[in-house]
Symmetry: C2
């Protein structure tokens, strides 16, 4: 079994937020939506079913934590949670805060709009808020 | 709290497959993809976070069961799993068997192609295969 390495496409499209017990949490570099991506640090995993039961439980727990952080920080109208992986097969889960009237609403976000990279200052502020919120929900768990 | 009732849009778009401990399992009436929808029988739930912890655990387990059934019956190239709910807010989870070269590949299925309803005989055969497979994976769990 090879060692876990973040897929270069995911690394290129995102900013690193935090490291949870199982997953790296990344912020999609797209200011259209508050959009987190969770990547379990497990080599060669592509489907949820590729994780052992303990890791699957940890993943669901971390999806809950990411959802709680987005909900607290952005009060979205809807959360969208998805494991697709048709383009990048490395297992990763999208957790996206959606708003009525956002750039893709009510469609799914994938491929709907060109990414709008964060201005540097805005990304610093957003990453810091998200780190604080994730840490609090991890501690509360 | 009101009583659970399947959303009329979900009822209209699907064929009933099975009733698991938490969820109704529905087959999207779209022969473009083997596409299951899991609907927890919990009134007024819209987000995963609206479920209590026991029900959330049951839901993840039933997503695994649906995934195993699709994988066994169709040997897809990829599973797509998603809780979106931008159009129909009643909590429901898509579990879709995807193939390189299917009608939407590699894009997500939502809105990609008009639904292609199953011919009656094909739906009978597909529902029966899916029921058998779900039952086996429930028993094995």
């Amino acid at each position: 079994m090879s060692e876990f390495q973040l897929h270069p496409q995911l690394a290129a499209d995102t900013l690193p937020v935090a490291s949870l017990p199982l997953c790296d949490v990344l912020l999609m570099n797209d200011a259209n939506y508050p959009w987190l991506i969770l990547v379990p640090r497990v080599a060669d995993a592509s489907e949820l079913l590729d994780l052992n039961e303990g890791d699957r439980t940890r993943l669901w727990r971390e999806i809950d934590i990411a959802s709680q952080a987005l909900r607290e920080q952005f009060a979205p109208d809807k959360l969208n949670i998805a494991a697709l992986g048709n383009m990048v097969s490395q297992l990763h889960v999208h957790v996206v805060a959606r708003f009525k009237g956002d750039a893709a609403w009510p469609k799914p976000v994938w491929g709907a709009q060109p990414a709008r990279p964060y201005p540097a200052e805005e990304s610093v502020e957003r990453l810091s808020r998200l780190r604080d919120a994730l840490e609090r929900f991890v501690s509360a768990g």
